[in-house]
């Protein structure tokens, strides 16, 4: 056994300073709370910038369809309309696909197949918006114009939705592109939600002699309803704010048209297109107000989605949001 050293090293050690602890806690806390500050900053900057337009146009800003930079008359209705319609189309396409895929991944797929599909979906989410836009312009739009839209018009042309001239660039094209872009997030959040359904639920249903589909429908989907709603609303939030790809395929025409084949314009794309060339203060302020509207709407949808998802899926699901 070695000799115990008698020399105390306590003298060599520095006395602990509480200052270091306090400073570190303070700094990290400041950084953490900066996210809340940042929300306020975004809101405040947008509000400040839109002051001029808010005072001049008031509530008429969101109801008027007149967007005339030359006369400095600004009404955002066509953009709001375009945003809502394109997002709605996207949801109609994306929601059934995403939920079905999530069901497939959690309930049906052989375990070997699950991870590869999940990886592919993750990669889909990683593709930058501008690349979807590029693909939209040069691949999707020509295909829609030549092959898809004429057929739709032939069979469903009696509906006002599918009438009018075909340009290719259109609300429908934008909706499709947005759908592709929001499918990954809805799928991955839905998947986490479904995974959080306790196995007991499934076993109980199997115990009653239910088939696989019946188990899914009765035990899983109805149990996960609220969380899935959250996933869909989250997807809606992303759809509303989607900018580049939409700007590249929607046609950028501030009109309110009944036809899905007609070009449109969204809140995000009008900012993307016109902000850099907005010369007058009023013009700039109107664009700020559009951003404010967009910000407010996406914040509300996001908060709603967060509440639904975190009530349902716990931390894992809210992690999937990223």
């Amino acid at each position: 056994m070695a000799e115990i050293n008698s020399m105390t090293v306590a003298a060599e050690m520095k006395p602990p300073s509480r200052v270091g602890d306090h400073v570190f806690k303070w700094i990290t806390g400041l950084m953490a709370f900066s996210v809340l500050v940042l929300i306020v900053v975004v809101g405040w900057e947008l509000y400040k910038g839109s002051n001029l337009a808010v005072h001049k146009f008031g509530f008429k800003f969101v109801t008027s369809s007149n967007w005339d930079p030359v006369e400095e008359n600004f009404g955002a209705w066509p953009f709001i309309f375009g945003t809502l319609v394109s997002s709605l189309i996207a949801l109609v396409i994306a929601v059934p696909l995403s939920v079905a895929t999530a069901v497939f991944l959690t309930e049906l797929a052989p375990p070997k197949l699950r991870q590869p599909i999940v990886s592919i979906i993750e990669m889909l989410a990683a593709v930058p918006s501008v690349i979807y836009g590029l693909w939209g312009i040069f691949v999707l739009i020509p295909w829609l114009r030549e092959h898809c839209f004429p057929v739709l018009q032939k069979w469903l042309g009696f509906l006002p939705l599918f009438q009018g001239p075909i340009y290719g660039v259109s609300m429908l094209a934008a909706g499709i592109i947005i759908a592709i872009m929001i499918v990954p997030i809805i799928t991955s959040v839905s998947r986490e939600i479904l995974r959080s359904v306790p196995d007991l639920q499934r076993e109980a249903a199997y115990g009653l002699g239910a088939t696989r589909w019946e188990v899914t429908r009765i035990a899983v989907l109805s149990y996960a309803k609220r969380g899935l709603c959250g996933a869909v609303i989250l997807g809606l939030g992303r759809a509303l704010g989607e900018t580049m790809a939409v700007t590249m395929v929607i046609g950028n025409r501030p009109e309110v048209a009944a036809s899905l084949f007609a070009p449109g314009y969204t809140l995000a794309s009008v900012i993307a297109n016109e902000f850099a060339e907005a010369t007058t203060d009023m013009y700039l302020s109107a664009l700020f107000e559009i951003a404010l509207v967009l910000f407010a709407v996406t914040i509300v949808t996001n908060i709603l989605a967060q509440l639904l998802i975190s009530a349902m899926g716990g931390p894992r699901a809210s992690r999937a949001i990223q």
Binding site: I4, S6, V9
Partner: protein, 292 residues
């Protein structure tokens, strides 16, 4: 007695064993007076009226006892009886748990452990701890693991560090096994070696007391035996408090034994008496294996 002197001990007021074989390194402080060896019946911890809570749940009820210096004191009792909680109050680890509260008077060699101006990190430098699950830091080598307590407390002197490392590893009876691979990760060692590395790590900062929370419960019999032998060696210079659920272990290696049940200290006496002729019925039932 009532002093709150838990600042780093100035060499002159050493409450730690003092003595022999000063290296050149230590000459700077070698002029301090050499104190006579402490009395055999010196008390390390005075614990009075210790009550502990986790949120609303009270885990410890009015525990009072005195832990003698340079002896091994074992804490036994069925799981959930508050023995680990008690141990963790001695070096102020209890308060790290969210919602934990404490009401007590604890003195370590006369110094108030829970005084209002006492820095818990200084208490922890004087009261080392070894945990149930061995936990060498995974990013560090054996060498780094051993002296991490010194390095992160501001000791920069390479030679001193090197020296303390060897000493600590020797004290932990690990030196011969690892001296050729000090630069290997600490977690590359076997379970028993890892636990001894953790003991070396705790010894390196030269505490006065070593708390051990079931240090051998995850180890095989041979590794357990080594730890027990080590405890016998260490008690010459250190006060050791060991929590164990293994009564044979308590009987084998402790001088005093405290029996806890439902958060209360039922009985506390010389180990020999506790295991042969306990005063309380509950103690007897427990040590004879009738419950727990």
């Amino acid at each position: 007695m009532t002093s709150e002197l838990l600042e780093p001990k100035a060499p002159s007021q050493a409450g730690v064993p003092v003595g022999k074989g000063l290296t050149p390194m230590e000459n700077a402080t070698a002029s301090r007076p050499v104190e006579p060896p402490a009395r055999a019946d010196e008390v390390a911890f005075h614990v009075e009226h210790l009550n502990g809570w986790f949120g609303q749940h009270q885990a410890l009820f009015d525990v009072s006892l005195q832990i003698p210096a340079r002896k091994v004191t074992a804490i036994i009792g069925p799981s959930g009886c508050g023995k680990s909680t008690f141990l963790r109050t001695l070096n102020r680890m209890h308060e790290l748990v969210r919602g934990a509260r404490l009401d007590c008077q604890i003195r370590l060699f006369g110094d108030d452990v829970y005084g209002p101006r006492v820095d818990p990190t200084l208490v922890r430098r004087r009261v080392g701890m070894v945990f149930q699950k061995s936990n060498p830091f995974p990013t560090m080598t054996i060498e780094e693991n051993t002296v991490v307590g010194l390095r992160l407390n501001g000791v920069r002197d390479r030679r001193l560090l090197r020296e303390r490392m060897e000493q600590s590893l020797r004290m932990a009876a690990l030196w011969d096994e690892v001296k050729d691979r000090l630069d290997k990760p600490g977690i590359s060692l076997s379970g028993g070696q890892q636990q001894r590395l953790c003991i070396a790590r705790a010894l390196a900062v030269q505490p006065e007391v070593l708390l051990m929370d079931e240090p051998a419960s995850a180890l095989d019999p041979i590794a357990t035996m080594k730890i027990e032998e080590l405890i016998q060696e260490l008690k010459r210079d250190y006060t050791i408090v060991i929590v164990t659920h293994n009564m044979q272990q308590a009987a084998r290696c402790s001088d005093y034994t405290a029996f806890f049940y439902m958060g209360k200290l039922i009985e506390y006496d010389k180990t020999e008496k506790m295991f042969t002729n306990p005063t309380h019925k509950q103690t007897e039932d427990y040590v004879t294996g009738r419950f727990g």
